[in-house]
Symmetry: C2
Subunit: 342 residues, 2 copies
DNA sequence: TTGTACGCGTTATCAA
DNA sequence: TTGATAACGCGTACAA
């Protein structure tokens, strides 16, 4: 690790000159000197010390990516294909824009904020924070923040978010199920907060508008913890005998359910139809291929990263709230019923 | 962002004392002073500036995780469930041990090394590098390195690796297929280097030991690029008519193949048996559930991270080469043939 | 056209 | 028991 000082000494010149050449402030430097320095830099393979540079410049080119662990659901958050695809999208943008990514996974917001401020991160990406967490962070952190899939109840102004119209997506899918002749449609999720809540609301709204009644039994609660999962699926499969279709809050759960159904000799879509949400590789590879609501996880991450970098550069975003498009993917897991069949 | 200097001024004492209290070098400090400083630190929510600290200490507590992009295969590397699970395992260990993770994804080794040295990373984790890349890195980087799934032909000493006996795993699975009565067994992969090569070798060895002949037709080359995939699967499914079983180099490909087969009304396992490698969620969720070679991606990452942190701390590793265990998972995608059937 | 000198926040050495 | 002070490597205002 050679330093500017050493280079300057070797070349018999000052650190300023070397530094100027490095940064292309070549207006005041003779052509010969420039060449000499350039060649030497090549030769010794000079790499600046980022710590020193950051200290001097009071910046870091680090973008913090913070997400809360959801141990009950995924002991390893990266196992969630949506999360990993999104991170891939974020990483790519951060890298190509010349920034660095630092991942903070924790369920302790305070800890995350401590990390972010020690590293002096230039900006922050928050995924799936609940209302108050997001607010708390925004207050304590004075640099740009972009949220992903964060819903704020109180219509916070000035708060940047990249999301999806989850409610509308779920609404459209439910309407499709209704149009396919289904009336007894269950909804499967592991909670009813955040994103999942919006999807649930879309589902309910579609039922309501179609004049189809909803009872609490329609809601299938999946317990994803390893020790609960099987029992939970048992109960759900039993309960589903009363339904002709299930709308699952995610593809992952949809595929898990389809496997459980098949293990119990219940055929999809002949005995029951299944729909998902996200359209990840599970949906595409599974057979029957899953009818689902498509969204682009990678692009979601990328869009958020681009927006954040814009903010860091001081650009005014064209919009503080981006809603990415969704699209119904009609595949083979939903059966068209004739009306006598239902 | 309050600094030590400001704290010292507010408290009317020197930065040394403040720093000492912060680091618990409290032997030489009066109880009263300690209390005074502690309380003040609490109050102003002091967070150290890592850049300054790293500069002074000439360390970083950063662990670099470097992997090459494989654009042809996964435009988004994180889509590979093996990679994302492994990263999850790495991240968890790094975090709980008080280090930070910095991800470097690039296909340019030189660029990766530049990043690692600007950040002055304390150690390096390399995934799936080929022989010469790994060697090149080791030579130019003087701090601890641990590789994951890297094979070195020349039996490099002193080079740390966490891997799996891929050859033996593939050997056992192939033997299982043979024992199940299969003789015409194809092998599916997208290349024949690195890890995939070892698996291929295990497969070939098992065939050889069983006296089963192998021809180049046995090797099904899957082209995973979007524009090639369908044609490639077409060709493979056609070719597979001559076989009673396929051993796929990964679960992902195995499931992809099973879907392609099903789309062509070829039944698994009745018409053809399929085996995979890795045992990720695809294998477990797909139906028929995939018979595969289990390995623990998360633990692989975690083991490598633990080993690296040990090296950083100056501990001598009990072994420089760790081979994690594998295990055959017999599920439903392989049919037991009677001998007349074959 | 080039060089000196200081600041960035922290740690560490040594003296008081 | 505490406090100056010199590093650490880089950027930059200002002087030469």
């Amino acid at each position: 690790m050679i330093t500017i000082k050493e280079i300057a000494r070797s070349l018999g010149m000052s650190t300023t000159t070397v530094s100027n050449v490095i940064h292309g402030k070549t207006g005041q430097v003779s052509a010969e000197t420039i060449e000499r320095v350039r060649r030497f830099l090549e030769e010794v393979d000079y790499v600046p010390n980022i710590n020193a540079r950051n200290l001097a410049r009071n910046q870091s080119r680090i973008i913090g990516v913070a997400m809360k662990t959801q141990d009950y659901k995924y002991p390893n958050l990266m196992k969630d294909p949506f999360v990993s695809e999104m991170i891939g999208g974020i990483e790519k943008v951060i890298r190509t824009e010349g920034y660095f990514m630092m991942l903070y996974i924790s369920n302790d917001i305070a800890e995350i904020m401590r990390h972010v401020s020690t590293w002096n991160a230039d900006g922050l990406l928050l995924y799936d924070m609940l209302d108050d967490d997001g607010d708390r962070v925004s207050r304590s952190y004075k640099k740009p923040i972009v949220c992903i899939d964060t819903y704020s109840e109180e219509g916070n102004e000035g708060f940047c978010n990249v999301g999806l119209d989850d409610e509308e997506g779920a609404f459209c899918m439910t309407r499709y199920l209704l149009e396919s002749g289904h009336r007894r449609i269950a909804f499967l999720a592991d909670n009813r907060i955040g994103v999942d809540l919006r999807r649930f609301r879309g589902y309910r709204r579609a039922l309501r508008e179609a004049g189809v009644e909803y009872s609490d039994r329609n809601f299938c609660l999946l317990r994803p913890e390893p020790e609960e999962k099987e029992r939970s699926l048992d109960r759900i499969c039993e309960n589903l005998r009363e339904y002709s279709a299930v709308f699952c809050v995610s593809d992952y759960y949809a595929c898990m359910l389809m496997s459980a159904l098949r293990d119990r000799d219940i055929l999809v879509p002949d005995d029951i139809s299944v729909a998902g949400f996200d359209d990840n590789d599970y949906a595409r590879i599974y057979r029957p291929a899953l009818t689902t609501v498509h969204q682009d996880a990678e692009e979601k991450g990328a869009a958020a990263a681009r927006m954040l970098i814009g903010l860091i550069r001081g650009e005014e975003p064209s919009s503080r709230q981006i809603l990415l498009p969704f699209e119904l993917k009609i595949r083979d897991s939903v059966k068209k019923l004739n009306f006598y069949n239902n």
